[in-house]
Every structure is written in C-alpha cells, then in structure tokens.
Amino acid sequence: MSFLAPGALGLMALSIPLIVLYMLRSRRQRFEVPSVLLWSGEEQFVSAALPWQRLKITGVLLLQLLTLIGFAVLLGRPFFREQTLLGPHTVLIVDSSGSMATAGRLDDALGQARSLASDASEAQLISVVEAGAQSRVLVAFSREPDDVLAAIDSIAPGGTTEDLAGALRLARGLATPDRPTTLLILSDGGIAGAIEEPVANAQHVLFDSRGDNLAITGFGTGVPGEGATRLFLEVTNFSVGPESVTARLLVDGLEVGSEAFDLDAGERSQRIVAVDAGAGQAVSAVLGGQNDANPLDDSASLVLSAGTDLTVTITGDGSPFLGALVESVPGLRPAAGAPPDVLIVDGGDAGIVDRPAWIIAPETPPPGITVVGRLESPIVSYQRPGEPILDGLDLSELAIAEADIVDALGWLPIVRAGEIPLVLMGEVAGHRALYFTFDIVRSNLPVQVTFPILGARILDWLGGNRVAATSTAPAGTAIGLTPPAGGTSLVTVPSGQQMTLSAEATTFTGTASPGVYRVDYLDQDGAAAGSAVAARQFVATESTGDARQISTTLDDTATEAEGTLLREWAPLILAILLGVVLIEWWVAFGRPLPRGRRRAEVAS
C-alpha cells in the first residue's frame, strides 16, 4: 500500500495525547440524588491526591485509537496500482457486428467499455468508434465520462459484418499528436479477414463466449416451381449437439406455414417451400421453440417485388441446365432472335460481349482477363462476405473437375479456391459481367440445391436487379429514398420505431438491424404519397460465432506507467471506520441510542 499524502500519517501522533487523557484523573460532574443508599456498590473511588491514574486498557480506548489511526490513514490517501487498458488517449473500437450478439458478447464488451470510461481520470481522453456496417465516430477526445457512457449506451448489435478496417482508419484519424493514442479493439475478431497485418499500437480484448445457436443461413425466392412463390430456406445448427427447431413462415405478419428441422451438430438443412404470397408482400421465416445464443439470426425477411421480364440468349455450348434455368425462373424468357437484355456465354467467344453477360469458362476470355493456367480439383475456400449474390448460399461442397487460372486485373473475385478466383465480378465494355473460370457441366453445381437461386440472382444482378422476385439485402445496406419534392420520408424500422427524414435525404443508412423496413412518403401537405417496403437480412456468416484474436502490437510510447490506474482505498477505509465507531458506541453505552439519553439531567 502506498500513500498519496504520507504526511497525514503524522496525525497518528495524536494517539499520545489521547492516551494521556485516559491517564488523567477525570473530573466528575456532581449531581444531587435523593439518597445514595441505593447506589452503594457502584462506587468507583479514585485518588484525589494525584492527577494521574494507572492507565486501564479498555475496549473504548482501543477502539478510539483504532479510529484515530483509521482517520490518519484515510487522510494519507492510501492507494494501490491497478493495471488498466487506458492510455493518455484511448480509442475504444466497439464491434457491433452480428456475431457480437452471440452469448452476450456485446453486452460484455459494452460493460468493459463502461468500466473503462468510469475509471478514466480527468487527464485521459477517450474516443469511441463503432465498428458496424458503417463505422462511425460516436465521441471524440472526451474527458466527460457521461458523454462517453452515452456514446457507449447508443451501441446496439446489428445483423451485419463489421467494417473493422474502416473503423481502424477512423480510429487512426483520431490520433492526437501531443499524446500517445492507444487503440482498444473490443471485438470477437469475427471474420475480419481484411485485417491481415498486426494492428499497430493497439490491443485487442477478445470476447469469445459461445452458446448453442440455430440460425437461418439462407432465405430467398426465385426458385422455379408450380403454384405460388417458392421460398428457399436454409437452417444451420451451430450448436455442439443435435437440435430440433420449427421455422414459422409468415406473410405480412400472418403465419402461413411451418417447417420442422432435426439437425445434428454442424448440420445444415435446405428446404423449398411454397407460400401463397405476391408482389409487395413481406415474407418472413422465424425460428421458434428454442433459446439460442444469437437471437438476431433466428429470423429472416424478404419483400416480393413485381420484377420485369428480361430476355436472355445463351451462346456457346449452351448447357441444358442453363436453358432449363432461363425457362423456369419467373421473369426470364428467351430472346427468340431479338437482341437480349442479358447474354449467357457458355464456353464460346466472349471477346465481343456488348451487353451484360454471364461468361462461363469461355474459349476466348473478354478483355481484361487472361488465362494463365489450369487448376485441377479446386476446393472453394472463400466466399466474399456480404455479397448479395452469394447471400445465404454455401458453395463449400462444390466439386469442380478443373478451372482456369486467370489474371483478371480490375475484376473482383467473389469465390476463390485459395488465391485462385473461381467466380469474378466486373465489367466488359461498360456492361456488368460475371465470370466463371470453370465449366459448370464439369462440376456438380447444376445438381446443387443452390444452383437455381444462384443462377436467378446472377441474372437478376446482370439485368440491373429488375428480374428478381425479391427485394432484400444484407443488414446495413442503405435503403434508397425517393420522397416527393418538398415532402418527407417516414421510415418504420423493425423495432417499430419511426423516423422522419427530410426531402434532402436520399438514403436511409440505419439498417443494421435485420427485418422489414417500411418507408411512407408524405408530400408537402402531409398527405400520403406512396410507400415502399424493404427487407434486410442477417449476414449468415456472422452466425458461426467464430472468434479469433486479432494480432496487435504496442509501440514504445505505451509505457508501463500509462497502463496503470491508481485506485484509492478511501471507500473501504470509510466503511471500516464507520463500523469501528458504531462498535465503540455500543461498547461505551451498552445499548442503542433510541431512548435519547440526556447526559447529566437528573431532576427537573
């Protein structure tokens, strides 16, 4: 134990006069009583000749000495050193991605952030950055604990993938030149694949609590079939043991059916379900009957849209699977000699593509792509997170005989086998293009449950999102707004909360929570001027609950002194002192105060 004001310990010397007072003969007060007959036996005679008496060690004396010493120690301000993560300027980067909703990770992270904010001294600055779908600075360079706590309290888990790289860029932008800045990452590490290098001058506090979790990892439409809308539903068991669950299907909030799943640990089950729903209706799937670790991935929603017919022409080898796909997807039809809206180049010459095209292992690649080799039996190891085309689809069981190794500068790989791209997105002659480096007939893709969905989404994207029967996107994706001139947009979020946006607002970015968002447009007079519905889905990759330690380094400026907190013992000592004083009172008077004894009042 050390003292901030050790000079105050000198007050312990007052114990000497205290002891002297006990050795002095006390001058008793004199009171008259009717008779001393009944007081015989209580006499305590003292010598009147000497001013001193023999010191009697009584409980009261010991307690008074203890109280005196306690006060001296209290004024000496004893303290102990406690390791802290805070530095002169600390940027708290709080991960609010969907995986942080697992087993209370975000609650733990926010609790630690609050604790740190409360421990901060007036000399320490704190900034808070939320790493969510769109990273943002919540508070910067604050010395006010209340402001920091308010910023921390505003963080809620979303259904998105964290933009940790963006958050780190923001945090580094907050670095102060006059004092060392420490980045404190409160995260589960998640799928932060973009953070490859050790993060400099940062510390990562890992939150990796786990729990049994069942999740909807795929939910979409566009699957061919008879009758009404066909839904694709995939449920995955991330628990350590087998689980049973029932998924309820709702159309505009009304239950229209259910599907039961019995899943072993790690098992994924896919179903095609027909529901009676049409354009403009919101369809949801909700897992019930279980209490799992991450409640955000227990539901998924989409909005059926009317779509517009696209014409498609298949060139090259023309796999029969592609022909069947075009004929079966609602909204698609063969071009029948007319110029198509979308072109499927299956193994032919892709060098003359003049419109949006799905290019599948062409003999002649389009400009910008060069085939440099071939790879046998590639295994899918990477799917780009948050990519709408791949959302909810698992290609890990895709078996490919061989694929081209391409040099595609300017193209974005969305599916890779190691570092070898298998599927790329890009542009050819100013038109959207999707490039498969493998022939689908030399793979098991056409017989996968996901093939119709994948094909429908690819053609939807190539056609400018006009074909798809659904309007959905990963949580965090902004919603475009088209309010009338001078009007406003009233957005109802999944929790029921409503927000009014001005006519200047063309997007709504507060879509971190998965669910259905309704937008009502109001004109200048406040009259209804149309509405729209959009759905945002939980990013399925966040359901795994995977956690990992982010590699970090601390530079030399983060000295040991900056990592310690001086915490005083004052509250504990005060409590002990109060207890000692109460015991002293009890010992002195032998009974509680309520009777309110008056000292020395004998007769009226």
Binding site: V33, S35, V36, L37, L38, R598, A603
Partner: protein, 287 residues
Amino acid sequence: MLLEPQLRARLERLALANRTRLRGVWGGRHRSTRLGESLDFADYREYNPGDDYRRIDYNLWARLGVVLIRLFEAEDEMPLQIVIDNSRSMDFGDKFPAAQQLTAMVTYMALISGERIRLATVPEPGSSGLVGPWARHVSAWPKMETWLEDLDPDGGTDLVAASRIVASTVSRGPIVLVSDLLQPGWQQAIDLFGTARGGVVLHVLSPAELDPDLTGDLTLRDIETRSEVPVSMSGDAVERYKARVQGFAGEASRRCRRVGLDYVLATADTEVLDRTLRQLVAGGTVR
C-alpha cells in the same frame, strides 16, 4: 388547592376501611374493643348491683332463675394518624407535591367519614412528639389543606422516632405513612408502625429514581446527608441500580404485609392520585 373539586366529589363516596376493632375516645361508627351502647348484642353477664336494670333479660330470669343482663357492642371513632415525610430527600422531582396530594386525599376521605385524624410530619432527631393539627369534621378541611400546603421539604429525618411515637399513642388507630423510606432504619420504622391498628404505607418514588437517565462519570451527592458517591454510569451500572430499586420496593412491600400494613408504590407523576386511589380500592384499603 391540593385536590380538584371533581376529585373531592369522588372521594366523598369513599371511606377508609377498618379491619380491626378500635379503641377511640369518642363514639363513632367503628367497632370498638370495649362494650357499649350500640344495638349489636355482644354477651350476657350476671347482674351486679348498680347495673342498669333495663338490661336485665327477664325471659332468661323466668326460665332459668338466674338474673343476667345483656351486653352490647360499643362503636368508637377511628383515630387516624397521617404522617407525611417532608425530609429533603422528598425534594426531588415531583415527589413532595405528590406526597402532599396523597396526604390531602386520605385526609379528606377521613374527614368526610367523620373520623378523628391527626396530621403530622416526621420529627427531627431527638424530638419527643409529633407536630401537626387534629381535626374531626370536614369543616376543618380548609385548615388541614392550608397546613399541608405550607409544608416545605426541609423537615425532620427521624422516621424511627416518628414510629415510636405512633406506637406509644394511647388512642391507637390506623396509621398512614407517606414517605420515600429513603432513610436508614426504615425497616425498624415499619415494624413499629405495624403496632398500630392497621394502616397503609404510601411509598412515593420519582420516575427518575425508578429509571435514572444518567450517563458518564459522575459524583452523586445525597440531598439530605450531603455524602457523595463516585459512580461510572454505564448501562450495566444503571441496570444494577434498577434491580436494587425493585428489590427495595419489594422488601418494603413484604415487610408492610408482615406487620399488617397495606403497601402502595406511588410513582410521582401526573397520574399519581388516580392510580393510587385505584390501587387502594383494589387492595381493600378504601371502599
């Protein structure tokens, strides 16, 4: 005014009870130890010359041939002596005003009943007689009340002497003692008072004496003797004192009962008259 009119009206319906035969100087309403002229038959005895021939029982004479005369009970007054302790020890709290009121209450009841009473104070050591007025009729109440009101708690302290004087009185009747008994020899005094023909001891103590509110190191000085006792007033000491007070009152009660006296512990507070009167009625001392 020691007694409120309402209380006096209430006292007029009550009277001191007497459980033994008395020997008064004057006739009265109480059974006497001698024979007399009342209507209550007592006994026969043989006729002696000079006896009142109106008392000869002629029926017995005719039937038995013996001349007998009828004897009757006598009824005497009750000579009541009331001794009030006006020593300095009574000058504590409301003890002495309470003692004055209690004495006045008993005095008024006796006067209303037509008893002959004597008020007296405890004498100084060495005195040979009690000092105080006599009275036999309620018309004397103002005089008795004035005498009581004029008393100060600075009188004598010889309770034993008072008891000896009472015990030697020729005209013995009941005794009423109003005192705190806080004097050495109080036990002997009670024994001597017991030679009277009944009576009651009204033991007056202050609430502060029964439950003292003292704390700290004190020197207690006796009001009467000026002697001092150094005391450390802890909770335990107060509890021990209270136990001794209870023992003191209990011993006084037992000793009174043993010598034929009633005992009432009168706490000197605002309810002392009403509470004491109820205790006297409950104990049969007053009816």
